[in-house]
């Protein structure tokens, strides 16, 4: 402990030293700066006001509520109510307007486009791409080729209930894993692969047995994809005669599709988004280019 008797007056500054001394180096014992001290006291006073206004002190069973009754839960509810009030009549109008009638009202049209575009970026773009262009395994939404239908009603249903998920209203169909489950042999899969590729005019390797492929197709695939292979939107069976291939048109891709099946899924967005947002999304997707 410092010995007060060691305190010396520092002749240069006029302050006393603390009494500590290391090889002739001593520490000045200066008071705290006044400005600092006053801010310190002001903070203490402020905290007293804070205790009174906001929830603060824990008591036996609950805490003091503060005179303004602030609460984080009611605060966020109020902020969201304010947000809805700010968006105001347009959201209300959108919720009451049929999707087909939105385009007749230029102001509502602009609003719905913006509203749908924001919801699309947050919820849909991770799979379908920022512009709706899709990717391998994630359908393109800007062309006019639809798996489950491109009418407003069909798009609305697909967005609201999704595809192959746990929702009881979800779109559902399941292609068998023809190779994995032993329905077709490797040779049969190769034949039907080349037959299916030939349907959309893709060049097939010399010596492919397209007749055998056609027979295998008629026996195994036509029940869903149709005798003419043009698919069936009722059961999400894709059209195999066009140049659009969700999982790729190269021979290994098609073989993999037939061997293991794909059966990808999409969430049911009605479980996460409100009806007005779903409506804006439906309009937005329908308007991306391929809506029927």
């Amino acid at each position: 402990m410092a010995d007060p008797s060691n305190e010396k007056l520092d002749t240069v500054t006029g302050f006393k030293t603390t009494g500590h001394e290391w090889d002739g180096i001593a520490e000045l014992n200066q008071p705290l700066p006044r400005w600092w001290l006053w801010i310190f006291y002001a903070c203490i006073l402020f905290s007293v006001g804070y205790w009174i206004v906001y929830p603060a002190w824990p008591l036996v069973f609950s805490a003091t509520n503060g005179v303004i009754g602030w609460n984080s839960r009611t605060a966020v509810d109020e902020a969201i109510a304010q947000l809805q009030a700010d968006r105001g009549p347009m959201v209300d109008k959108l919720s009451k307007t049929e999707i087909a009638a939105i385009k007749d009202d230029p102001e509502l049209l602009d609003f719905t486009r913006a509203y749908g575009s924001i919801a699309f970026k947050e919820n849909c773009a991770p799979c379908h791409g920022a512009g709706g262009g899709g990717a391998k395994g994630y359908p393109n939404l800007i062309d006019d080729d639809w798996l489950w239908g491109g009418s407003i009603d069909n798009i609305a249903h697909t967005i609201a209930y999704g595809v192959r998920n746990a929702n009881s209203d979800s779109r559902y169909s399941e292609m068998p894993a023809f190779g994995r489950d032993g329905i077709l042999t490797g040779a049969q899969i190769r034949d039907v692969t080349q037959y299916v590729r030939s349907l959309s005019g893709l060049p097939v390797p010399h010596g492919s047995d397209l007749e055998a492929g056609a027979k295998i197709f008629a026996d195994n695939c036509a029940s869903c994809h149709g005798d003419d292979a043009r698919g069936d939107q009722e059961i999400g069976a894709p059209n195999l005669t066009d140049a659009i291939w969700l999982y790729g048109s190269a021979t290994p891709d098609v073989v993999a599709t037939i061997t293991n099946a794909r059966n990808s899924s999409m969430p049911a967005w009605s479980e996460r988004l409100d009806p007005t947002t779903l409506k804006a999304l439906t309009f937005y997707v329908h308007n991306l280019g391929g809506g029927e």
């Binding site: 402990m1 839960r73 304010q82 919820n123 799979c127 899924s265």
Partner: protein, 247 residues
């Protein structure tokens, strides 16, 4: 001798100063922390929250191992913009079985508290393998090895025992069946799913990577996706009353 002069005794004696500081900090800590254990409005029991299934717990261990929390938080704060983007704000009860919690404070990537069910399993697998294949502007690293590495469930039952020792209510039955439950949930052996669902209501039971059925083995990606798909899905917010606990 004034009070200031007495304060000098503390200032000039390191041990005394340390003891004094410890006492002051303890008082602050006790006043701030202890009431959280008994005040009614800080303890909220909510229907639907259950301990993680063994497969989800294994996925959670991978989440922690890979340091996902360095970039992803798991807490939607009760603020307008967060609720707008991510959904209902997080409740304390939702992480009551997290040892340790994964709230985080750093959002280089988005919050994951409500990511369960938001994307398909295929998307998660593609995204873990190569984030830029689905999000072109993503700066997340690739975690390609997760789908290539077989999940090690050797110590899964012991993981549950550790969690139990820390206060998660795993029963002896759950611990005994831990490895089996992981295998069932990943559909490596999709029998006795009813038993699993009885122990862990609403658990997702499926082939998360789509490769388990063909390859006959669970990968780390299966566990991680099972965990991610469970996040934030425990509570039905159509039934939950925000204001019931305000008192």
């Amino acid at each position: 001798m004034s009070a200031w002069a007495k304060h000098q005794i503390l200032e000039t004696n390191a041990i005394l100063l340390m003891i004094g500081a410890l006492i002051v900090i303890s008082i602050g800590g006790i006043v701030e922390i202890v009431p959280l254990f008994y005040l009614k409005n800080t303890i909220e029991t909510v229907d639907g929250v259950r301990p993680y299934t063994p497969l989800e717990l294994a996925g959670r261990n991978i989440y922690v191992r890979e340091g996902c929390y360095n970039c992803h938080s798991q807490m939607v704060r009760p603020l307008r913009d967060e609720v707008e983007r991510y959904g209902h704000y997080s409740l304390a009860a939702e992480s009551m079985y997290d040892r340790p919690f994964q709230w985080g404070s750093k959002r280089t990537g988005p919050d994951l508290a409500r990511v369960g069910g938001k994307y398909s399993d295929t998307w998660h697998l593609d995204h873990l393998n190569d984030p830029r294949s689905v999000i072109p502007a993503s700066i997340m690293p690739s975690y390609r090895w997760l789908a290539e590495t077989e999940l090690d469930i050797t110590y899964l039952d012991e993981d549950l025992m550790v969690q139990k020792a820390l206060g998660v209510p795993y029963t002896d039955e759950m611990i005994e069946n831990a490895k089996r439950d992981a295998v069932i949930q990943g559909t490596l052996d999709p029998v006795e799913a009813d038993d699993l669902l009885a122990r862990y209501p609403n658990a997702n039971i499926r082939d998360f990577t789509g490769t388990v059925t063909a390859s006959g083995r669970l990968t780390e990606a299966d566990a991680l996706i099972a965990y991610l798909q469970s996040l934030g899905t425990a509570i039905d917010f159509n039934l939950y009353d925000d204001n019931a606990n305000i008192r």
